[in-house]
């Protein structure tokens, strides 16, 4: 049953990856990466339950934090890059 859940998450990941590859605008890609990150957190958490060792939860926690940081960073630099292009 856990495996069914992980399979579902994997399907979601594949679709998100496809969107990241196709994504016409940059924002689509960022969105897909964000979703991908969230799903990785869930996948690792589920995996931790499968194996019954709660060390994995630590990793999932780190992911949840780092994912947010990277999204914010991407947004910031992207906005910043836009300003540059407009000015020059």
């Amino acid at each position: 049953m856990y495996f069914a859940i992980s399979a579902a998450i994997l399907v979601v990941m594949v679709l998100a990856l496809a969107r990241a590859l196709l994504g016409p605008t940059v924002y689509d890609r960022i969105l897909a990466v964000n979703m991908f990150g969230t799903k990785t957190v869930l996948l690792i958490a589920v995996f931790g339950l499968i194996s019954g060792r709660f060390d994995y939860i630590d990793i999932a926690l780190v992911y949840a934090l780092i994912n947010f940081i990277s999204i914010v960073a991407v947004l910031r630099f992207f906005e910043y890059g836009d300003h540059r292009e407009q000015e020059s």
Binding site: V11, R19, T25, M35, V46, L49, I57, A64, I71, F78
Partner: protein
């Protein structure tokens, strides 16, 4: 008691999985960025919540429950925030919502971002 908990947990897990796939299909199929954002972020948050809740009901260790709850908390904090920031910067960056088909969708997208256009160029 254990049986009920188990059933509840499976209900959450299956619901989460279903929502996740729905969201991903939406992310993949919807026509423009804002609709995709809607599909992804709303289902994403709920799906994460469901799956983590399901896992919490399955967990045996108090520490594990605590950490899972932390994950849930962080996800419910960050994921809507990220979606909001994304929508805002997309609007700011000049990406227009798709207008011709459904006016409802557009007004919905704009009413949640009323301050989106005012603090613009430095």
């Amino acid at each position: 008691m254990a049986g009920i908990l188990d059933m509840l947990s499976w209900f959450f897990l299956v619901g989460g999985g279903f929502l996740g796939i729905t969201g991903a299909v939406g992310l993949f199929r919807f026509p423009d960025f804002y609709t995709r954002l809607h599909a992804a972020s709303v289902t994403d948050t709920l799906c994460a919540g469901f799956i983590v809740l399901g896992l919490v009901l399955q967990a045996t260790d108090a520490m594990m429950v605590f950490k899972l709850v932390m994950i849930l908390l962080i996800l419910t904090y960050t994921s809507p925030t990220a979606a909001h920031a994304l929508a805002k910067s997309a609007l700011h960056g000049g990406l227009k919502p798709l207008t011709d088909l459904d006016a409802n969708n557009k007004s919905g997208a704009e009413s949640t971002q009323p301050e989106g256009e005012s603090p613009s160029t430095p």
